[in-house]
């Protein structure tokens, strides 16, 4: 098992290096001159003199590979460069924006887990009946509604009309409810459908019939069905946290939530390349890390996977 984990860990290094290189190359391919961008975001007129000075300051006059090597060396030491907009360290900005996004993503995961499990249970229990149809219609609507629209509707209803929650901003615990609900909406629909179908299939299995014949209570039977239906949903849920964090652009912008998504959107609009590069790298690390964790967990549960990995 240790060898398996070690091998998987070692494999992530070239993967991350590859991702960092690709992100660096893609940004270099941008038609905008980084020096000009750095000057423009500070509302300075990009004269030749200013551009030359900025190029030198940012090290843009060095060869491509030297710049990449410099960047990677700095990243290894925790230095992700400085923002063009205000010259603040990018690492510090990411560290500042990470907790709000984590808070938002974790709350959304909680909403997602509670709502999708609850809805799947109800749908499976009342399969083919009004409750099932109603909830499935709601699920369908949830999948089809764009995030920004759902967010504005929720804001209008719960904030403006009912006056229960603040419209936007990060002001106390209640302010996370609307953005988290918006963020989790499409995921709730996906997982509720996945779990419902799995539960409907499982409840028709002979083992359930046998359980009934043994005289097990209704609650015990449903617990059994639920546990057996979780496998695919859990694997998906494991990857949901990084996906949620990477998908907060729209929600954070609508709800003025000072997290990673908003930071990245602003950086994209300003072409603040150091921030974009660092964001891509951070997301890659998160996806690779979560993937690794899920794989290791699966291998712990199922020894056959370890054997397959060795083959």
């Amino acid at each position: 098992m240790k060898a398996y984990i070690l091998r998987r860990l070692l494999l992530t290094i070239p993967l991350l290096l590859g991702i960092s290189f690709v992100s660096f190359v893609i940004i270099q391919l941008s038609p905008s001159d980084p020096a000009e961008v750095a000057v423009r975001v500070n509302e300075i007129v990009p004269t030749d003199e200013v551009l030359a000075l900025t190029r030198e300051q940012l090290g843009l006059n060095k060869p491509f590979m030297t710049r990449y090597a410099d960047w990677m060396c700095a990243v290894a030491q925790g230095d992700l460069g400085r923002r063009y907009v205000d010259n603040k360290p990018v690492a510090q900005e990411l560290a500042r924006a990470l907790p709000p996004t984590l808070w938002l993503a974790l709350t959304a995961t909680l909403f997602m887990a509670v709502c999708s499990v609850g809805m799947a249970f109800l749908c499976a229990m009342y399969e083919g009946r009004t409750v099932d149809y109603l909830l499935r219609s709601f699920i369908f609507l949830g999948t089809a509604t764009p995030g920004f629209w759902a967010g504005l509707l929720l804001m209008w209803l719960f904030s403006v009309k009912l006056n229960w929650l603040p419209t936007s901003g990060m002001q106390g615990a209640s302010s996370v409810i609307l953005p988290a609900a918006t963020l989790s909406l499409s995921y709730i629909s996906t997982y509720a459908r996945l779990l419902r179908n799995s539960m409907v299939l499982n409840k028709q299995k002979p083992s359930v019939l046998y359980a009934r014949a043994r005289g097990l209570t209704r609650g015990m039977i449903w617990r059994h069905i639920f546990r057996n239906s979780l496998q695919s949903t859990l694997t998906g849920l494991g990857m949901s946290l990084p996906k949620l964090m990477a998908g907060t652009f729209v929600v954070e912008t609508i709800f003025a939530w000072p997290g990673l998504g908003w930071l990245c959107v602003t950086a994209i609009f300003n072409r603040d390349f150091p921030v974009i590069q660092a964001y891509v790298l951070l997301m890659a690390v998160m996806f690779v890390g979560c993937n690794l964790l899920v794989d290791i967990l699966c291998a712990v549960i199922d020894p056959r996977l370890r054997a397959r990995g060795q083959a």
Binding site: V45, L152, W156, W164, T167, T253, A256, P258, F269
Partner: protein, 532 residues
């Protein structure tokens, strides 16, 4: 039945809670001394000598020696001043007893330190000739400061009163005697003090208790950051914010403004014409390099329809690039009204013949032009569509291409466009700073004008104009420049833009400053604000 009763009881409880919250809110509103202003942008770095912060916020904290007002330049931190007969030496008599909010005295030494820091960062102020014109600056005595220029630069006082860069920051905030690489704090002499700032969330400005001038009527202004326009509208409806203020669709698009105006629940205000909205025609591109085409386009665009249809009649049609109300610009230049028949005749006469496909062509060159706009500005798209339909009527195909702001700016630098949307900087920058910027190759104006026969003369004349001491000669030079540009048809003037404000009816004293970038918070108050 019991279930229904339970649900009803829960609903009533919720409504009660909601009603209680409303009651609490109205009690709080009765004694409000803090105003909430919503902005799509954070205040960012408000170092008064740099350009990466919000101008409205810089204007709250930092003050200049003199200030621009609708009545002209007035004293601010300088009580009075004298100008030498040759127009090169400005001697300022500073206001006594003024201190920065950290207790540092405001005196001639502080002014010199600030001016030296600005001059030390000359490349950053390339757009402003004034910085290049400073020969030296001296401390005469504690309360007398002297500025010596290389030439008699006529807009000196106006430019000293701009929001940046000539504003005073406490010497304690300097880092190694400079401000170009950042400052250690934002301390000024202004009516407001920045007491709290949470990046991308809010900034809290409190009234400066020791302010030398009239005290602000409010105790605090909370600057809330809300990047989405719809969220701002909903927050306004909920009463979370009191004021939305902005120009050119950056805070409010016209549809939202009109909807709020019609609703009648809020007060809406529109400023006097403040800047010029125009379409820039590139005289350095295959189709638009032909002066006849540019002139025909002047008659092909229905400006009135744009003002009525896109801007909902809130702006006035522009006959000339700069409004006649702007100094030096009342020149009686001929207006070119909507006349598609005349436009078609002009194109025909210039050899642009109509083909079977409905498009004009000359020497194998089809009359196809591209208009680029900043895709973040929804208003520009609609405006472009109006122009597109007008041009089609005279046999010119216009392609509309929305680009991200940075790409749009990149295109200005390269000059790879036929048409572009253009907005002047408005008062007090117009006309001198606006014209001055035409000489910078990074600007779309420069790129569009490069194709003009007398571009070199134009740039040279603008440079001379800035240091021309004689008022009559200066007037004549402005006339010559603006007439030439008008005759060349490089701009299609559309309208004179205005700043808009929407606020809760309880908020009083809302008005506009001289510049579209300033928000005069210090005059605002709530109906029930306790007297201070």
């Amino acid at each position: 039945m019991r279930k229904i009763g339970f649900v009803l009881a829960a609903l009533i409880c919720c409504l009660n809670i909601s009603a209680c919250q409303n009651d609490e809110k109205s009690t709080a509103q009765a004694q409000r001394t803090e105003m909430v202003y919503a902005s799509t942008k954070d205040i960012r770095i408000i170092n008064p000598h740099l350009y990466s912060g919000e101008m409205a916020a810089q204007n709250m904290v930092f003050e200049p020696l003199v200030v621009n007002t609708p009545e002209g330049v007035k004293p601010c931190l300088a009580e009075s001043w004298e100008i030498s007969p040759d127009g090169r030496v400005y001697t300022f008599h500073l206001r006594k007893g003024v201190t920065f909010t950290d207790g540092a005295p405001f005196d001639a030494a502080a002014v010199k330190l600030n001016m030296d820091a600005i001059v030390a960062n000359k490349p950053r102020h390339a757009w402003l000739d004034m910085v290049n014109e400073i020969e030296r600056n001296e401390v005469v005595d504690t309360h007398t400061y002297r500025l010596v220029l290389k030439h008699p630069y006529y807009p000196t006082l106006v430019e000293l009163g701009l929001v940046r860069p000539f504003r005073m920051i406490s010497p304690n905030c300097f880092i190694n005697g400079q401000t170009k690489d950042g400052v250690s704090g934002y301390v000024g002499t202004g009516p407001w003090v920045l007491t709290e700032h949470k990046d991308k969330q809010y900034a809290l400005f409190t009234a400066n208790k020791n302010y030398w001038g009239a005290q602000p009527k409010l105790q605090a202004v909370r600057w809330r950051v809300m990047p989405d326009h719809q969220t701002i509208m909903l927050a306004l409806q909920k009463g979370e914010i009191d004021l939305v203020f902005g120009a050119d669709g950056d805070m409010l698009n016209m549809d939202a403004f009109n909807a709020l105006q019609k609703e009648g629940k809020y007060a809406t205000l529109i400023s006097k014409p403040i800047a010029s909205r125009a379409i820039l025609l590139n005289a350095h591109q295959p189709v638009t390099k032909d002066r006849a085409v540019r002139m025909a386009l002047q008659y092909a665009v229905n400006k009135q329809a744009i003002v009525d249809g896109v801007l909902n009649g809130t702006e006035s049609v522009a006959d000339t690039l700069i409004s006649s109300t702007v100094p030096y610009c009342d020149l009686g230049l001929p207006a070119r009204g909507y006349d598609p028949a005349k436009a078609a005749a002009m194109l025909e006469a210039a050899g642009w013949k109509l083909g079977p496909d409905g498009l004009r062509a000359k020497d194998g060159q089809k009359a196809i032009v591209r208009l680029y706009y900043n895709s973040q500005n929804a208003q520009e798209r609609t405006l472009a569509e109006y122009v597109q339909s007008d041009l089609k009527k005279v046999g010119i195909e216009m392609k509309i291409i929305g680009e991200e702001k940075q790409a749009f700016l990149d295109r200005q630098r390269t000059g790879d466009f036929e048409l572009q949307y253009s907005l002047s900087w408005g008062t007090p920058y117009d006309p001198q700073s606006y014209l001055s910027s035409w000489r910078i190759p990074a600007h779309g104006d420069y790129q569009a004008q490069v194709g003009m026969e007398r571009k070199e003369w134009l740039d040279k004349t603008i440079s001379q104009l800035m240091i021309e001491p004689n008022e009559a000669t200066r007037k004549a030079m402005y006339k010559e420049i603006l007439t030439y540009v008008h005759d060349e048809g490089v701009y299609i003037p559309i309208s004179y833009s205005r700043t808009k404000a929407v606020h809760s009816k309880a908020l009083q004293g809302v008005g506009f400053g001289v510049s579209q970038y300033e928000v005069p918070f210090e005059k605002m108050y709530f109906e029930n604000t306790p007297a201070r």
